[in-house]
Symmetry: C2
Subunit: 268 residues, 2 copies
Amino acid sequence: MIKKNNHPIGIFDSGLGGLTVVREIKKILPNEDIVYFGDNARLPYGIKSKRQIIECSLNNARFLLKKKIKALVIACNSSSANALYVLKKRLTIPIIDVIRPASQAACEVTRNKKIGIIGTSATIESHAYQREIRKIDSRIKVYTQKCPLLVPLVEEGWIHNEITDSIIKKYLWPLLKERIDTLLLGCTHYPLLKRAIIKQAGKHVNIVDSGPRAAYDLMRKLTSCDLLNATKRKGTLKIFVSDLSPHFITIGERFLKHKLEHVSVVRI
Amino acid sequence: MIKKNNHPIGIFDSGLGGLTVVREIKKILPNEDIVYFGDNARLPYGIKSKRQIIECSLNNARFLLKKKIKALVIACNSSSANALYVLKKRLTIPIIDVIRPASQAACEVTRNKKIGIIGTSATIESHAYQREIRKIDSRIKVYTQKCPLLVPLVEEGWIHNEITDSIIKKYLWPLLKERIDTLLLGCTHYPLLKRAIIKQAGKHVNIVDSGPRAAYDLMRKLTSCDLLNATKRKGTLKIFVSDLSPHFITIGERFLKHKLEHVSVVRI
């Protein structure tokens, strides 16, 4: 029997954007095995109803549990915002979402206590970030902005161009007007636009990306539960998706900054 | 028993964009009952694999067949391009897609035999329009352009603004450079951008929208099969969707140019 410590970490996302979180986990936990599930067949979650997001998230978690994962990372903001409490009720393994770690990081870096949050419609409308930040420090003011065009822009590969700059400018303006000093990127696609976002927000605004902090929280959780992989070998990455088109492969490699290997299509 | 002529017409789309086709059908067949199914839970089809699009399309058709439809309209371009032949094999009722009617209309209006086609990635990559136009007139040259950002732009409601104009300009440039005289809108979302498209394409380019021609072909088909509804009363419109968020209601009303009524969420 394989010792539980050596079981893989499970990560799911509505698509392949969560690979930006995988990259961060591999940086600080290089010998952990990872099983990733991307629900390409049903993406995007960002425009779905709460009921539908919960159903999809439960299906994804069930698939990963069959792979004997020792911990679960919800890399999808829409799932973290809408389905975390249901998953926590149903699962007995440690669960890391992307909202709590990013909120914690944003609260630590803000000086003027004005935080801006950008995300998909479902994430922003769930008020999950607002609730989380209020729990940490009720004096902090939170300003939010839905940015439905940013995901398609990343998927189209328009990372550095004038149109992307104009769209980001239009979305950020209402937040910058409020003089936020910290901007939380509430979607796993957004780190790819980080440079363009900094260009519009200005260098004085702290940019908080959920990936690195979620990876750090995962490491702490595994340590406290005595679940760190004790082997010295390099961890593996297995990717499962519910649908795969040529389009997804191109985008996946953009997120992972690496060739996509070991990808299997599964029906769940 | 209700006479078959008085059975409803079934229409499906990946979401609510097909309501632009419903509008055209209601204009010329006002006394027909319509049952519409929008697969919101699984949209967009435009980035899915062929296998996945076929599976979704079959599910949608099965749902509508239970409503005893006398004819089926596939309002979704991605489904028409990828699943029409499977549906034709499996169903015995008349089927109207959106690709053949629009191709026919484009071939009739072009003078210099240079047609441009814009659509989602799945539609363009299927080469369905190119094949259809070649069958009609092999001398016609076809130039295509995937426009993945146009659907999210319509859904965001950015119909008349400078960013939308810049994006359309960027997408149309390679087609206009080839001196097309006809531009086919290969997606049910695009009629909402018609004015912005005309602005960039110039008034000398014919704009062909699949909705009116598909409605006309449906009328001809019902006439030839003796399936026209003979009653004089105003037809009803029942809308079923696989998911419904506040976002979908706003968008649906934009497409239908009317309040969304009689909408039911079903699990299929």
